[in-house]
Amino acid sequence: MRKRDLIKRLVLGSGLALGLSAVLSAAAADDTIKVGVLHSLSGTMAISETTLKDTVLMLVEEQNKKGGLLGKKLEAVVVDPASNWPLFAEKARELIAKDKVAAVFGCWTSVSRKSVLPVFEELNGLLFYPVQYEGEESSKNVFYTGAAPNQQAIPAVDYLMNDLGVKRWVLAGTDYVYPRTTNKILEAYLKQKGVAAEDIMINYTPFGHSDWQSIVADIKKFGGAGKKTAVVSTINGDANVPFYKELGNQGVSAEDIPVVAFSVGEEELSGIDTKPLVGHLAAWNYFMSVDTPENAAFIKQWHAFIKDPKRVTNDPMEAHKIGFDLWVKAVEKAGSTATDKVVKAIVGLETPNLTGGIAKMLPNHHITKPVLIGEIQDDGQFAVVWQTEGTVPGDAWSDFLPGSKDLEGDWTAPINCGNYNIKTKTCLGSAAK
């Protein structure tokens, strides 16, 4: 008898509880505007993403101090997708369908974005994605406030080529889609600039690769051919520490073979003993060291919020800041948080970059950014050594990949298409309605 009851309780219990929890939260209070925060707080990506969660919380708090939005308070809904990609999709669905959030700020890795993309398109939600990525995407429901390859990789290569006279290139990356695509683009670009194939060395390593001895030795050999050599690194966050340490120990100094990194920012450096890195380069659209009044204010605000004057700011944080500002502006302009209205309103809106210049939301849902190149200093900050005059508009579809030369993203009437082929004048694939 007792047996039967117990099992009933267990199985029915879990079943019903599920149903209830869904129903209850569906009938949630309506006097606030909810903002979803979809960043991993555990697992491998927690290292980078927890900071972004705090950033969004800070921005929400600030906005509420200003009296909220459309007369309502903002309410941040934080969930933990735990660095688990399917879980990202599930949590995205939870945020949009269950919690009915007006917009979601989140994701770091490309795969997490790819995983949630169908959900956002199905449920017509809004995602602000703050990290530099491989491009090759433009969705109606996603706003890419991080850099596209043409806003980071290509200018960096130009700098190395023109200012440092680099002739030989090592493209080293972690084996996933962002480095693969970026390196494909750079390879095409370099060849177009007349770099011979034997002067390009491409190398991929697994995530969290920790034993760089052989690879650094190879780089040394490759660099020992009498031509100025540089490493363009798309190595993913965690693997960088052992990489730079190995460089330092094998006596490769930034003067011999400079490394320009696309995924190493202040946050990452704060976890590294920077001595061996001094002089190596990074290309970003934001550096904490840039002194503009906006940036100073932002840093001050961050330190106040996080209650730790030692914490640094970095590029994806700025991206969230810009994304948030643009969303707020768009909602105010549209007078509503309804996705379609916001999407219509947001294109063309502008907000100042923290590093000077204006960030403008483009029809392809990317934004305009200045590109800066900084040299790592021994205090873990970057000294800007070069920057583009004016801002660079983000290009969703690279002009250097055969597959996407002719593609454009334009979410304004009449085209309204993420991947519009300007040759055939057709909207390709899924976006075709």
Binding site: D175, Q250, E375
Partner: protein
């Protein structure tokens, strides 16, 4: 680092040394552009180009005070300040702010607070110029070591002036070692600028030299050489160099393999105790390593400025911290699970999750910065082409040390005896009056402690973060199983074998494929020898 070392030496001998420089610099007469006072303000300029000219000008003055200024700039001790004279100051950190000195008069200018001064930012071009300038200035230092370093630095990218300086120096140089370097440097320079005869001569001097500069020089020469004989000679020289290089490369790969192996051994050896001797599958082993690494971090935080010695505190500290955690885990969880190894796997997996999250909440989710002591950075130069990095060397030695220590503990001490007794026959041992509970706790503590020590070593190689443990746990188990459970020698040889195999495969297979192949190899190997390399009878053997 090295530079500042010579910096202090230089200061010590200031008087005699600088008069020497003046003597050696007479030939500069022509090049000498203005005085130090005129050139100095250029350093404060925002534009790097201007600073660069200033540096060259300062070097060109040959002024005795130029050298320490350039040193200070390179070391990042040179600062600018607003509205006070002199605008340029040498600043050193004090507890409360900066203590300033006048770069020219070296007079003490008292202390100021943090915001008062701004550091002069450097970039690579500037650093190169600085090294060049400093080299030309120190080319006639009384210290031979400094002289040959100067020569090497000038070899990097010879400018006409520096080449001239080299030749001048070569005339007067007595010290044999320095002479060879100078000869080399001049030869490298000749490859670029010399007459055909000079070039030919240079090629023959460089034949078989392993200096990367020599090889670079030759390759560039071959690339754009017009004179046939020179070209032929250069090609011969190059092949000679390359054949020697291939052997160095093999030796290098072997070293890489061994050092990777030593890391595997360090990670696995604690497991060999808990898993091999006690039959406990400790999935939290990686997290115990992590605790060790974090202990290193905390020690360094506690003793700022003692980085070079911190490790000697960290090693015992880590051993104790992880050891205590281990004992706690054993007492609270594992002791209820003896004889059920698979249950220990599940429970300890839970513990590993808890420990990770604990670190995230208590310290932070971000990685933390563990500094390398100076004696662990840099590398040991066997010859110009083959250099063994110090950190790897020390860790290799350290791994062996830990191994031997552990062996002695198990073979020679009373604890070791009891441990082996309990692991072979618990009941009997108890009957003989061994307090098996205590022994279990200590054994597990020992294994955990070793894990902590391994964590200290890892903190010198890679990230210190909440997830670091997971990266090693599987490899560790592979090593133990491959080597043969319950056999320390197996762990040592197993780890080294896997490391070397991995490294020799990497060049043609690539990092990922190499790892996969190693795993497949282990799987197949276990089919052939289900009990690993060195099988062992006893309780732990049958899970």
């Amino acid at each position: 680092m090295r530079i500042t070392a010579s910096h202090h030496r230089g200061r010590g001998l200031a008087g005699a040394f600088f008069s020497l420089i003046l003597a050696g610099m007479t030939w500069w007469g022509t090049a000498a552009a203005g005085t130090l006072e005129e050139a100095l303000p250029g350093l404060a300029d925002r534009a790097f180009a201007v600073k660069q000219q200033a540096v060259q000008a300062i070097a060109a003055t040959g002024d005795s005070r130029a050298f320490p200024i350039l040193q200070a700039l390179l070391a990042g001790d040179l600062y600018t300040r607003e509205g006070a004279d002199p605008p340029l100051v040498v600043a050193r950190r004090t507890g409360t702010g900066w203590s300033l000195r006048d770069p020219l008069t070296r007079a003490d200018l008292g202390e100021v607070e943090w915001e008062a001064v701004k550091k002069i930012p450097l970039n690579n071009a500037l650093r190169t110029a600085l090294r060049g300038g400093i080299a030309t200035l120190t080319l006639s230092s009384p210290d031979p070591a400094v002289r040959s370093r100067a020569a090497k630095d000038l070899m990097r990218d010879p400018s006409p002036e520096s080449v001239a300086a080299l030749r001048v120096r070569l005339e007067q140089e007595q010290d044999a070692a320095v002479r060879t370097t100078l000869v080399l440097a001049v030869a490298v320079a000749d490859l670029r600028v010399g007459t055909p005869e000079a070039r030919l001569a240079a090629v023959s001097t460089l034949e078989g030299s392993l200096h990367p500069e020599a090889r670079n020089g030759l390759t560039t020469l071959i690339a754009n050489e017009t004179n046939a004989d020179v070209k032929a000679a250069a090609e011969r020289a190059l092949t000679a160099i390359d054949s020697r290089l291939t052997w160095n490369a093999r030796a290098e790969t072997l070293f890489f393999g061994l050092s990777l192996g030593s890391v595997l051994v360090l990670a696995a050896i604690g497991l060999a105790i808990t898993f091999g001797v006690m039959g406990v599958i400790n999935m939290a082993h990686g997290e115990l390593m992590m605790l060790g690494a974090y202990t290193t971090y905390l020690v360094q935080q506690a003793l700022p400025g003692w980085v070079d010695y911190s490790l000697f505190v960290a090693i015992p500290a880590a051993f104790i911290v992880s050891g205590l955690f281990g004992i706690a885990i054993e007492r609270t969880v594992i002791r209820f699970l003896y004889g059920r190894p698979l249950e220990t796997l599940l429970a300890t997996f839970g513990i590993s999750l808890i420990l990770q999250q604990l670190v995230r909440t208590v310290i932070s989710a971000q990685n933390v910065a563990v500094e390398n002591p100076s004696w662990m950075s840099g590398s040991l130069h066997i010859n110009p082409a083959l250099a063994l990095t110090y950190n790897r060397l020390y860790i290799l030695a350290f791994a062996l040390l830990v191994f031997v220590a552990l062996l002695l503990i198990l073979k020679r001490t009373a604890l070791g005896l009891q441990v082996r007794a309990v692991s072979q026959n618990r009941a009997m041992a108890r009957a003989m009056g061994v307090r098996s509970a205590r022994v279990d706790a200590l054994t597990f503590g020992l294994g955990a402690g070793i894990a902590g020590v391994a964590g200290v070593a890892l903190s010198q190689l890679t990230n210190v973060g909440p997830n670091m443990g997971q990266a090693y746990i599987i490899d560790s188990f592979m090593v133990v199983v491959f080597g043969g459970v319950g056999n320390l020698w197996g762990t040592l040889i197993g780890g080294m074998t896997l490391g070397v195999a991995n490294k020799f495969m990497e060049p043609w297979a690539g990092a990922v494929l190499a790892k996969i192949l190693v795993l497949v190899f282990i799987i197949l190997f276990i089919q052939k020898r289900p009990r690993g390399l060195f099988p062992q009878r006893g309780r732990a053997a049958d899970g």
